[in-house]
Symmetry: C2
Subunit: 650 residues, 2 copies
């Protein structure tokens, strides 16, 4: 058949594909015109603007995300600020730990991300070795089998190395900057957050958020109130996030500003993280690549139902499993190819500092496997650190069925003496005592009994000290029995986090193909659900009599909420359709001279280029059904007359 | 009537109103839990998070904006990056001019915005003077009529003063910091952009955009291509923008991070800025407050049709006029009260550095008149400066009906000598010559003839110099005649810019009221179009038999795209409805024991609290019509039986 798809992966040309995306203005490098300016020294790598079709596709993906997750599960969506005070990200660990390792090339003055450097160099050596046999001049080095095995093993767990380990690899394997072959310095940590200050005095440091999650955690109590105290519940947030990548690359895949959509599902840790609706998804088969397989240097995928995966504890719990299945359904609905899809489990060293288990939904592209959605179990990490830092309990309280007796150490201060002795510091000292854990208290009790005085660490006091001495006249530590009628606990958090820009790019690769009879004819088979424009309206020519018909059709479709576009340029109908195949527009309507006679119009489907012809009302009805999902193109072709007229493509 | 609206402005209590918005989590101060942390020194003023109803209202306003402007007019929506290299904002003038004047109080260490300081102090003096008569102890100073007139005159044009003028006012009128009565220092300019650096080397300064406009201008050529060269056309962008306000105040009205929706309508300056669809809006009457009225110290509004306003040149041109009318329709549709609406023209000194005429759509609130939408004619300012800076023509080219002969000065370089003599600097020098205007060239031609050598300013050259000498052997300047078959021009830009957060707040004030029989019963009469939730579903009690009915209703409404919420708490039905009146939910459905018998349910309307009762299908049909706008509540009441049963409010 003339219009059959060329096999996608074999014939795929990334340069042809990316040139389509730029030509049709799906996206462009931001500030491109400035790069040609003389003396321009700015760094605009990793910054992209979406043009009209990219922007519409992005908006459609976001809308579908909102429907599939937020509305379907009654999640509480919030819109939080990106500017974040340093104290918040200090507590969350980002100020100290949200960093990549980079190496400086002192000669070139370049900074290279250490893991990428190792990866690139070893991949080049392996590829050269494979080519060496075919290279008659013998310039390329052939590696022995042991070395090949060693390199492949390193690459399979490249995300598992920390800075010192990467430094050792670079030294041991003599890895150098491919640009100039210079030696690089030892890896140093580079924090990935964009820093600024707020307010006129410059005394208040802030960062632009690297994720939307923190805003949701900080609002936990208000969200719990809003959900009328019901657990479990989920919040959600969609918004731009910022990461100062060391060396952005791979187009839309590693950028410095990106749209993130995150769900925080709060769950009682004593519930086994069961999920109410798990049975709705338990039979869905998913493709898994687990931790053990990766550590053994392999990458083969095993398929099994999510029900079984949770049963055998491959996936830690039902809630995490439920989200993996829902994520799968979501991405496939957008156009992801199930044959190029896997869930990869994070290795231990690779996990973010807050996570205790993590699975990435990855899509295979010409850049390799790309993480599009990360599903992490963040346990109680974030709520705990913010509770401790602020002295505000970010917890759930519920009545116990049977009251609980608890034997515990408790420190108390002689109220009458505290004020006079410590003045302004009194509150801070009480706060410091409140932060002591049971083990510490037990030790201090003994010390207080033995020596009559103990020393407690505090934040900075009025006199500059960071600890205070408490004698037994003002402080006592005793073991007491307490009856708890209420249970108070810190929820655990399961977090599916979606990189919307990455999803958009990977889906575009998955739906791209060339018509077999002419590889210059490119098509984006975007599902109608997310296609930027649903219908192209084409008058046969720029004859004035077509104008009112086109205008009324456009208005009619718009009033039905169906995005449409008119192309009344002088190009041939075939060329106009080809242009819209490149834009992923699934349907086309042609108005010709017969329309003026009998009111009939034609409807063309993008992938097959087949056409039907009927009265306007019937065609509009069919379009409405196709867009709404209540009818397929095959069904339309069966009930409306097929058309083989002048506006055919071939 | 029990449910009539209390007159809104007289009985309005802002503290009661804002407490509702926070209690129902429309929004909250961001990072609120951190403010209670000991030793927290961050500045989180002017940063707000939207909770679930606020976030949904925001999303609905944005969707409606997209429909009303972008889709209706086929605008080209783009999504541009917020991180912006310094060079771009240097060219646009923001690095040098996007600043407010602030005064430091050296004793308190506070920074005060100079115009706000003058405004606050003079308003207090005027208010004290009015009270002085009633103040038996005579503590308050009474001002003489001349001083009152002087102060009122200053306040009417407070936006018209620059820094030195504000400094003079502060000195002459002895204006001091109300907090402590200390003298303040002379005003200094404070740039309002958040600065950071990009990349690992810290050598590349960036700012977070203060507006979305620049991204649209820089993509002008791609946008023009996408619109297939057709003029006029408009682009649009919705996104977060950032301004480091000196002293944020007034809740959501003056914030440091906000959602901006901007349209850039590109138009041929020789077209008189006519607009194709102007006749569709020309009869709409709008409320105007022009420049002259303000400068005479008055604030009275004149009403006239936008057609007349453009005719008498009150509003500069049709395109600007068209947008004023469309903005008016948009805001009124969202719930703005036409009686608290005006278009205020900017005073000359008040206008942004790029604008040549500007009208603000302002809504009257308890904080006074608030600018919600600014409609500026930015002329060719931005495209011109970016063209000049980058050497890339951001222009439109079109074939001339009759070719044009142009006599002009042209400098040319002896190609063969340029390379050898200037080496790396050659390109820069050519660029510098290309930037010279006709007047300069004419002068230089004379100088070159007289002295045989000229000096041209350049960017920094390899030897550190910023100018170059050109002798007549390498450079010639002559008058030539050129025939232009193409016309090349820089479009002008009309820009309506919408502060979405401000619109949201002002509309909430406009739709807020208290039930007359009980002022504690608060209602937000949000139009159904933008209400966060359309329907509340209420089971009479938590009897298990109601659950399946409620669940199936929720699913049915969701499949129709109608946002709904279930409240099955144990509170009385009246209380549950009251809670949802506060959330602005326009419709409520009750399921009771009769439902289980005969399948009938009740539908309640928020503003009147009236109810009808019918079969589920009929009620769902009515809800669908009400949400879709094809039927009004009055029409529903006329055709379905009114219900006066147990779930009544009163």
């Amino acid at each position: 058949m003339a219009n059959s798809r060329a096999s996608s992966s074999e014939s795929f040309s990334r340069s042809q594909f990316e040139s389509l995306l730029k030509r049709r203005f799906f996206y462009t490098e931001a500030f491109e015109v400035y790069r040609t300016a003389p003396n321009y020294k700015g760094d605009n790598r990793g910054l992209y603007d979406y043009g009209p079709p990219g922007c519409a596709l992005l908006a459609n993906i976001v809308n579908e995300w909102r429907k599939h997750f937020v509305i379907e599960e009654n999640m509480l969506e919030v819109d939080c600020t990106a500017i974040t005070p340093e104290a918040v990200l200090k507590a969350s660990g980002h100020v100290d730990k949200f960093a990549d390792w980079m190496c400086r090339d002192p000669v070139k003055g370049e900074y290279l991300r250490a893991d990428h450097l190792v990866e690139t160099v070893l991949e080049t050596r392996l590829s050269n070795s494979r080519m060496a046999g075919k290279d008659s001049k013998g310039k390329l080095e052939r590696l022995d089998d042991a070395t090949v095995g060693q390199y492949e093993g390193i690459l399979a767990k490249i995300d598992n190395y920390d800075g010192p380990e990467l430094g050792k690899l670079i030294k041991d394997l003599d890895i150098r900057n491919p640009n100039g072959n210079g030696k690089v310095e030892h890896p140093t940590a580079f924090n990935l957050m964009f820093a600024s200050t707020i307010g006129p005095s410059s005394a208040s440091p802030v960062y632009f958020r690297p994720e939307t999650a923190q805003g949701q955690f900080l609002n936990f109590r208000k969200l719990l109130d809003y959900s009328q105290g019901t657990m479990p519940f989920a919040s959600a947030c969609i918004g731009k996030s910022y990461r100062n990548e060391i060396s952005p690359r791979s187009g839309l895949l590693r950028v410095r500003e990106f749209l993130l959509a995150e769900i925080e599902h709060f769950v009682d840790p004593e519930s086994n993280k069961r999920h109410d609706r798990f049975d709705e998804v338990s039979d869905i088969k998913l493709p898994f690549l687990d931790k053990e397989t990766q550590l053994s240097g392999r990458t083969d995928i095993s398929h099994m139902s999510i029900g079984k995966a949770v049963d055998i504890k491959l996936v830690n719990n039902e809630t995490l499993g439920y989200f993996l299945a829902r994520v799968y359904l979501f991405l496939v609905k957008l156009g992801a190819d199930p044959g190029r899809f896997r869930f990869r489990q994070h290795l231990d060293n690779e996990m973010a500092h807050y996570a205790c288990d993590c699975w990435d939904a990855e899509l295979l592209t010409s850049y390799g496997w790309i993480e599009c959605v990360g599903c992490a179990d963040r346990s109680a990490y974030d709520l705990t650190v913010h509770s401790r830092e602020t002295g505000t309990p970010l917890t759930v309280r519920e009545v116990r069925a049977t009251p609980l007796e608890i034997r515990e150490w408790r420190a108390s201060l002689e109220k009458k003496l505290v004020g006079p002795r410590f003045k302004k510091d009194a509150k801070m000292i009480e706060f410091a005592i409140g932060k002591l854990d049971q083990d510490t208290l037990e030790g201090l009790a003994k010390e207080l009994a033995d020596k009559g005085v103990i020393t407690i660490p505090t934040d900075e006091l009025a006199n500059g000290a960071t600890s205070v001495e408490l004698s037994s006249d003002i402080c006592s530590i005793e073991q007491v029995t307490r009856v708890e009628n209420m249970r108070e606990y810190t929820p655990n958090v399961i977090e599916p986090a979606f990189g919307i820009g990455r999803i958009l790019y990977c889906i575009l690769e998955h739906v791209y193909w060339n018509r077999a009879h002419d590889t210059a004819r490119e098509v984006l088979s975007l599902p109608i659900l997310v296609a930027p424009t649903k219908v192209l309206l084409v008058p046969l020519s720029n004859n004035a009599s077509f104008k009112p018909v086109i205008k009324s059709l456009a208005t009619r479709l718009r009033s039905l909420g169906i995005a449409n576009n008119v192309d009344s340029s002088s190009a041939s109908i075939g060329r106009r359709y080809a242009r819209n195949d490149e834009l992923g527009t699934p349907l086309g309507i042609t108005v010709d001279f017969d329309t003026l006679q009998d009111g009939s119009i034609t409807l063309r489907e993008r992938d097959s280029t087949a056409q039907v012809r009927a009265f306007e009302d019937e065609i509009v009805e069919a379009v409405r059904n196709l867009v709404g999902g209540s009818e397929t193109w095959e069904e339309v072709v069966r009930r409306l007359p097929v058309f083989m007229g002048q506006s055919q493509d071939d």
